[in-house]
Symmetry: C2
Subunit: 205 residues, 2 copies
């Protein structure tokens, strides 16, 4: 039986696309995207999913309290019996009930070396702070913003000539790479958590 | 005329030693350590300086207000006509008057990728946070802790088997390398500051 991944997105879904490609190519072994859920109608990521013939679902969040909205999303994910939830540019904090429904089974990717530059426009933050390196982080999701235990990170240099756009593009290549790798690690159970540390090397073949 | 560097330290002075070696070997061109000042009697860094026949000065800070203490240190540095002040494990915040006395002429090195993990025991902080990369940062010093514009950074991976000691040793090798390089850049004026960004590539040969 293939492991089933649910993806939540709000925008273009480039990380969703990388995960879908990883599952299709076997880079992420024995897995498939079971459902893609967007809180925004017209998110380009939904079209990307449709063109891959992956099931999609738009659940508009406007006007709903967080808890009420999350119940709808949890129900949709549970109906599809997903083993893992991957956030891919999903622009909402999860409620504690959502986090409890999928313990250590929700991942997010963030375009900085957390704990530096959490929140929006992380690439611009890094550039304006004058950092010489940034990168990206795949982490377990808890109720706090960009805060759960870190599974993988990758670094990229920041050049004097960088703009938010050029830096974002450089980081994005690393995002696609480490997100697929982190999903493989988690689906295979090749990790253990000690405090905030996610240890993965001992379980590697 | 050689450029004159004043070093402030409180402890073992391993970064002082790297700068002294860099100046002696020509890795930092046309520079010398004019004075090493410690706020602590018995700091091993003072012995290291003496064995290199570099002038040293212990100015105990105990019992003195920050402003009064800093006046003594500023006077000692000015008497030696230093062009640049390098903090090397100097366990004190500088007063605004100190920062004003040497505008953009005070450097510090910190064992993390700032803005992540400022303050004490940065290596332990990174490890306990579960970061997968850390590193070190050379920055201009302002009145705030580990906060001024960043000149250079270097990254190192964090291994599952790391302890604060093994991680510190890995970072320290990079500290010695980038501190000497940053001092060379600043002494040669090969940089310009835009906002918080320190741009160095345009001025490179």
């Amino acid at each position: 039986m293939k492991k089933r991944i649910g993806v939540l997105l709000s925008g273009r879904g480039s990380n969703f696309d990388a995960l879908a490609e990883g599952a299709a190519s076997g880079l992420i072994p024995n897995a498939e995207i079971a459902i893609v859920i967007s809180n925004r109608e017209g998110a380009p990521g939904i079209e990307k999913a449709q063109s891959r013939r992956i099931e999609t679902c738009v659940i508009p969040s406007r006007g709903l309290e967080r808890e009420a909205y999350d119940k709808l999303v949890i129900a949709a994910l549970q109906e599809k019996r997903v083993d893992l939830v991957c956030l891919a540019g999903y622009m909402r904090l999860l409620s504690p009930a959502f986090v409890r429904a999928f313990p250590n089974r929700i991942l997010n990717i963030h375009p900085s070396l957390l704990p530096a530059f959490p929140g929006l426009e992380a690439q611009r933050q890094a550039l304006e702070h004058g950092a010489k390196f940034s990168g990206c982080t795949v982490h377990f999701v808890d109720e706090n913003l960009d805060a759960g235990p870190i599974i993988l990170q990758a670094t990229v240099p920041i050049e004097d000539s960088d703009t938010p756009e050029t830096l974002s593009a450089r980081i994005l290549r690393e995002e696609h790479r480490i997100y697929a790798e982190a999903v493989s690690i988690v689906l295979a159970g090749r990790y253990r958590i000690e405090g905030r540390r996610v240890l993965t090397s001992l379980e590697k073949k």
